[in-house]
């Protein structure tokens, strides 16, 4: 039992990461209907910016400057991509984000370099044994996993308060519901787009910190976006809690499957388990676990 829990916790770390990436997708998709292929590239870019800036300045300043960079990025995307393409079909915007994705990948590596960088924010890494009173021998976890979970938890709470309680958050939800009506009451769509892309950029930075601290900052980070897709299918494209829970389910599910079912397939199922789960979900519940309730009055 202790071993099972250990595997589960290990899976949750990957899950937190998937959840953070999926969260970035959901924010942008909800507010602008754009499926942002560049989310993974944004994670890499944010993490690269941070790790290289840290060579020049103290960590808190580097963090602030990285946030600033993601906001500038949002402004540029709004001005050069979203504004000219306003009112175009979703598929055209999607293709534009593919372009953005390649550009950001290339641009980031050109200015920041393309080696593997270790990101050390001084987060604790040593393993600890918890739940000793519950299981014999306790459960061995990495302290870092716990810290990552706490960081993700704080981020999600802050976002939830922002969305539910503030004037801008309310405007974001209004735009997500009906962008024409939002315009009719004087909510400026361009400002809203900059705000969601900035928020998404900051979420990407947090994801980059978690991932980069665990495995180093390197190109493969941007591929994590591919794992966010099954998470979105599971959790629903428009649901913030869905992104979180979907991420955890996929993360934990693939680790458990690898360890407990994998051997009977000869191993290696971790790589496709998430997609298979997503496929099953598409057949059973296409709107996802928490997909926005489609309001229908009878």
């Amino acid at each position: 039992m202790g071993f099972f829990i250990e595997v589960l916790f290990g899976g949750f770390l990957a899950g937190v990461l998937y959840a953070l990436v999926a969260l970035g997708f959901v924010l942008i998709f909800k507010a602008s209907g754009v499926f942002n292929f560049a989310q993974g590239a944004m994670v890499l870019f944010a993490a690269l910016s941070l790790v290289r800036l840290m060579e020049w300045m103290p960590i808190p300043i580097a963090l602030l400057v990285s946030v600033g960079i993601m906001i500038v990025f949002a402004l540029v995307v709004e001005r050069l991509v979203l504004r000219p393409l306003v009112n175009q079909e979703g598929i055209i915007l999607f293709m534009a984000t593919i372009g953005v994705s390649y550009f950001v990948d290339g641009f980031g590596q050109t200015i920041w370099g393309s080696e593997i960088y270790t990101l050390d924010l001084g987060l604790p890494k040593e393993p600890v044994i918890i739940l000793e009173s519950v299981f014999e021998g306790g459960v061995l976890v990495n302290k870092f996993d716990l810290v990552a979970a706490v960081i993700a938890g704080i981020l999600v709470t802050v976002l939830a308060v922002f969305f539910q309680k503030t004037r801008i958050g309310r405007a974001l939800r209004a735009v997500a519901d009906d962008h024409q009506a939002a315009q009719s009451v004087g909510i400026p769509l361009r400002d809203i787009w900059v705000i969601v892309w900035s928020t998404s950029g900051i979420v990407a930075l947090v994801a980059g910190i978690v991932w980069g601290s665990a495995l180093g900052v390197q190109f493969s980070i941007s591929l994590v976006a591919l794992k966010a897709l099954p998470v979105l299918i599971l959790g629903g494209f428009t649901s913030v809690p869905g992104a979180i829970i979907g991420g955890l389910i996929i993360g934990a599910g693939e680790k458990l499957a690898e360890v407990f079912i994998g051997p009977s397939f000869g191993g290696g199922i971790e790589n496709w388990f998430a997609y298979m789960l997503a496929l099953l979900f598409l057949l059973v519940r296409p709107q996802g676990l928490f997909g926005e309730r489609i309001i229908e009055r009878v």
Binding site: A171, R173, Q180, V185, E292
Partner: protein, 271 residues
């Protein structure tokens, strides 16, 4: 009674084209005096919504464009502004089909209407109470998701939301759509009250000519993107053609083709 020369809102001979090719308004002019209720009447597709959207500048979001003529509000050209600018100046549109934010509560819907305001929380809260005083039913439903409220409640929410921007002028598009006659009457009574008590100027687009002409002071009739008739509400109500073709009252029973032709000829002359 004709509209005075200095109007609050002056739409001057505008032409509107959608998608660069579809010519929808072919020179529409109208004036809305301060404190007035002006009705814009006409059948499906006449161009009422397009006219309102040209004023509120929501047209651009639908790839529509004012290609000729101009729109003045308080003597200033406003046709190059954004909807946000217009709301700040006091002109707000209540869209056809209500368009409430379904996943927001009724009260949150009202609060979104105050987005452009900078006069502080207290003033906004006072105005929420003001809206509830006009629409007591919204107060009972304040915590419900707007998507689950009835059509009448949604119409009230949409009007209340617009009021929250502290407007001087409301462009009200088909408030009667899909509502039971009694509710239509109720909503129009409130519109009249808002006009009388809060001095809100109203430009109203309606297919329901009968109701609109009872509450409006002045009316314009739109056909195929042109104004074909204009007059005080009382005069329009008594006009034989309006009676026959828009109010469905005919002294002579069924309309013959010749009468229709006669009407069309007269219309052309007017246009």
């Amino acid at each position: 009674m004709t509209a005075p020369a200095t109007a609050l809102l002056d739409v001057n001979n505008i032409e509107v084209i959608y998608n660069h090719v579809i010519l929808v308004l072919k020179g529409v002019s109208l004036k809305v005096p301060e404190g007035g209720i002006v009705a814009l009447l006409g059948a499906n597709g006449a161009g009422k919504t397009t006219t309102l959207k040209a004023i509120s500048n929501l047209l651009r979001a639908e790839r529509g464009e004012v290609t000729k003529g101009g729109i003045e509000f308080k003597g200033e050209r406003v046709d190059r502004l954004t909807p946000n600018d217009l709301v700040k100046r006091g002109v707000i549109q209540v869209m056809e089909g209500r368009h409430c934010f379904g996943h927001l509560t009724v009260e949150e819907n009202l609060l979104t209407g105050a987005y452009t305001r900078g006069d502080g929380r207290q003033a906004i809260e006072a105005d929420i109470e003001m809206v509830y005083s006009y629409f007591p039913r919204l107060k009972e439903r304040r915590k419900s998701l707007a998507g689950y409220t009835s059509g009448g409640e949604q119409q009230m929410t949409a009007i209340g939301r617009a009021l929250m921007s502290n407007p001087t002028t409301i462009l009200l598009d088909e408030p009667s759509m899909g509502l039971a006659p009694q509710l239509v009457e109720e909503i129009f009574e409130i519109v009249r009250k808002l006009n009388a008590e809060r001095k809100v100027t109203i430009l109203l687009a309606e297919q329901n000519t009968n109701v609109a002409l009872r509450y409006a002071h002045h009316g314009y009739i739109l056909e195929n993107g042109r104004v074909v008739m204009e007059g005080s509400a009382a005069a329009l109500r008594e006009n034989e053609d309006v009676k026959e073709f828009y109010l469905g009252l005919s002294a002579s029973g069924r309309k013959s083709y010749r009468e229709v032709k006669h009407y069309k000829r007269r219309k052309r002359w007017l246009a």
